[in-house]
């Protein structure tokens, strides 16, 4: 357990590529937003750098990619990202859970039939992606920073994002990568295992595969038992990031991944806890604040120089000037000067 460390979240730089490549290699099957491929990771970092530098009025093709850095050692121990618009330039496919009621008054029968409808509902939503944390940090507070610093970034730069937020989560599969959902649905149209199909699609978007998927609704009662069970079922490897998002207020009932049936969570930005509960405050570099201290996620208001961390703060306005006192060491880590603003949300 590495509880004594201080970590900071910042935008990924090209110099992080070797570290990110190592992380991508260790990340679970199913986190397709973090491919273990140097060229793709290079593009990902470059896109993020460009996106952060760009002036954005309306969310578009921007992608943001952050890393979690151990301040003492400079080691990269996690990644997370945001896609400004899901399926930009094209479509973002999901299956939507629907209940069709088949009823006959005459026969005194009413059946609720669960069906899956291929849809583009989530196209254009902002998407949380690329979550990975070094297993040594799983039981610490740092996964909270890694996931939720993105909420602070969104809260600070709403013009860069949609008014709804979503995140895909990996579905269940066995050790050899076989997904019962894929085997029962996609495989009938591809006749190959999912990892193969993904590989075959090469650098293309999932959309490319999606267009070959069944377009008519799928009647769930017709699926084999293991595929039914896989609908909306989370792969245990993603328990941590998933639970953070649920606590944030994202909901998992409506959409699933079209390939492995994993749950896709979504919410209005205004309903996301760390966004709605965040505050923008002016900073005063002061040795120590007086009052009850509590853990907060705290971030600066920059884009290219975005920084976020977790700190014990008192939001009591002791000096009466409306400013938040933060110790100089913390201010330095966040790269904020006296009079700059920060955004905070309770841990």
């Amino acid at each position: 357990m590495k509880t004594d460390r201080v970590l900071i979240l910042r935008p990924c730089r090209m110099s992080d590529l070797p570290s990110v490549e190592r992380i991508a290699g260790a990340s679970a099957v199913g986190i397709t937003s973090l491919p273990p491929d140097r060229e793709k990771l290079y593009d990902k970092i470059r896109n993020s750098t460009h996106s952060l530098a760009a002036e954005v009025d309306v969310n578009g093709e921007e992608q943001y990619f952050f890393v979690l850095e151990d301040v003492a050692t400079g080691e990269i121990v996690g990644t997370s990202g945001i896609v400004a618009s899901a399926g930009f330039h094209d479509r973002f496919y999901s299956y939507r859970n629907e209940i069709i009621v088949h009823a006959s008054q005459e026969l005194g029968v009413s059946n609720k039939i669960h069906s899956l409808h291929l849809c583009h509902d989530l196209t254009g939503l902002s998407l949380l992606t690329s979550f990975y944390i070094d297993p040594a940090y799983v039981k610490t507070q740092w996964p909270q920073l890694l996931s939720r610093a993105r909420m602070l970034f969104i809260a600070e730069h709403p013009e860069r994002f949609a008014d709804k937020l979503a995140a895909e989560n990996p579905g269940v599969c066995d050790d050899s990568g076989h997904s019962p959902f894929w085997d029962a649905v996609g495989r009938r149209f591809f006749n190959m295992a999912y990892p193969q199909a993904e590989q075959l699609s090469g650098g293309r978007s999932k959309t490319f595969i999606a267009e070959l998927m069944p377009q008519y609704p799928i009647y769930v009662p017709l699926l084999p038992a293991d595929a039914k069970l896989a609908i909306g079922q989370l792969n245990p490897v993603a328990e941590l990031p998933f639970s953070i998002l649920l606590e944030e207020g994202l909901e998992a009932d409506t959409y699933i991944d079209i390939f492995d049936g994993g749950p896709t969570v979504e919410a209005r930005m205004s309903a996301v806890r760390s966004i709605a509960g965040s505050k923008r405050l002016r900073v005063k570099r002061a040795a120590s604040a007086i009052g009850t201290k509590q853990s907060y996620l705290i971030a600066n208001t920059a884009t290219e120089e975005f920084r976020a961390t977790i700190a014990l703060l008192s939001l009591d306005d002791a000096s009466g000037d409306g400013r938040l006192s933060i110790p100089p060491a913390l201010a330095d880590r966040l790269e904020v000067a006296d009079g700059d603003d920060v955004r905070v949300t309770p841990l």
Partner: protein, 344 residues
């Protein structure tokens, strides 16, 4: 002598008896007296010319005039689906292809349709097991085609017939087990029965409305799509010889095939002719072939089989046959060789 004639109210007990002996799968003849009474009422009104087209059903019986026994029945519904929706699955195909990925997948589909709405239907065919001999089956089934030929203008341009799909000895249909059962927790035999008593559209309303990928069904279910129950294969062969073809429509419950034909192309319609009746008790000529012959009436309709070799415009009938057909010398008769291969 075996004679086809319109059903009457007096035939109801015999019809109920026949219906009770049919077993699972003959949906158009349910063993339900109230329902059969309605059916006979509708038929009587149809022959009398007082039924609406949507309700019109011409039910005939096969009577052994010697034994004075009704031993079979057959019917002709003028236009299906005008009162309650008429559902079928159309067997289709969806191709998912990507040249770039080298993918080409064909997936059979089932589309719920009402495509046969308004078509004329052959229905309610049943022959007592003891009489399945001496061409009685052909007489029973084809006699209504001769009626159709004679009263062509009363019927639709298209004619269909549903054939019983595959089920096991216990009445279990693999197609129903794989599909219908999920949407309606009942036995196939019960769904079949509800269909027979005119509630098929209610059952259909509980069935999936979106197109189905057949590949999601069990292999057993996929294997019986468009397949006829072995016991019904002779009926299929007979209809095929008359020009009926399977065009990719199947029953929504057991996936048995619906065969169809343009009425004008039905052998008995295209090849039958009107003749003038000539009464003679002379033995038929040596080259006589079996003919299906009828009078030209509606409520007085009669049909039977005779050996004949008509020459010119006249058709020779024995006095006994003429009497059984309500025909006098010089009356019009309609006749067609029973075997499709026999020419006249």
């Amino acid at each position: 002598m075996m004679i086809i004639r319109p059903i009457t109210h007096a035939d109801l007990p015999a019809l109920v008896g026949l219906a009770k002996s049919t077993g699972v799968g003959l949906t158009t003849l349910p063993p339900n007296e109230a329902e059969l009474t309605k059916r006979v009422d509708a038929a009587v009104a149809s022959f009398a010319g007082t039924a609406r087209k949507a309700d019109e059903i011409f039910l005939f019986v096969l009577e052994d005039t010697t034994a004075k026994r009704v031993v079979g029945t057959c019917g002709l519904a003028t236009a299906v689906g005008l009162r309650q929706p008429w559902y079928s699955y159309r067997v289709g195909l969806v191709v998912h292809a990507s040249q770039e990925l080298g993918l080409f997948t064909q997936t059979p589909t089932l589309f719920l349709t009402n495509d046969h709405t308004g078509h004329t239907e052959l229905c309610s065919l049943f022959l007592d097991a003891g009489y399945r001999r001496d061409r009685n089956g052909q007489l029973l089934s084809k006699s209504r085609l001769l009626f159709l030929a004679q009263h062509r203008e009363r019927f639709s341009k298209k004619i269909i017939a549903e054939l019983r799909g595959v089920s096991d000895a216990a009445g279990k249909s693999p197609f129903w087990e794989s599909l219908g059962r999920h949407f309606f927790s009942m036995e196939f035999s019960q769904a079949d029965y509800l269909t027979g008593i005119g509630k098929k559209s209610f059952v259909a309303e509980l069935m999936p409305k979106h197109p189905l990928y057949s590949s999601f069904l069990t292999p057993e279910a996929q294997a019986v799509i468009g397949k006829t129950h072995p016991h019904t294969l002779p009926a299929l062969r007979m209809l095929e010889s008359e020009g009926f073809r399977y065009e990719g429509y199947v029953d929504i419950f057991d996936a048995g095939p619906t065969v169809e034909c343009d009425v004008d192309d039905v052998h008995a319609v295209a090849r039958s002719h009107e003749f003038k009746a000539e009464i003679s008790n002379a033995a038929p000529p040596a080259d006589a072939v079996m003919y299906l012959v009828s009078n030209t009436g509606i409520d007085s309709y009669r049909a039977t089989l005779v050996a004949a070799r008509p020459t010119g415009a006249s058709f020779v009938l024995s006095a006994e046959t003429a009497a059984a057909l309500n025909i006098h010398a010089g009356d019009d008769v309609r006749a067609v060789p029973l075997a499709v291969s026999d020419r006249h």
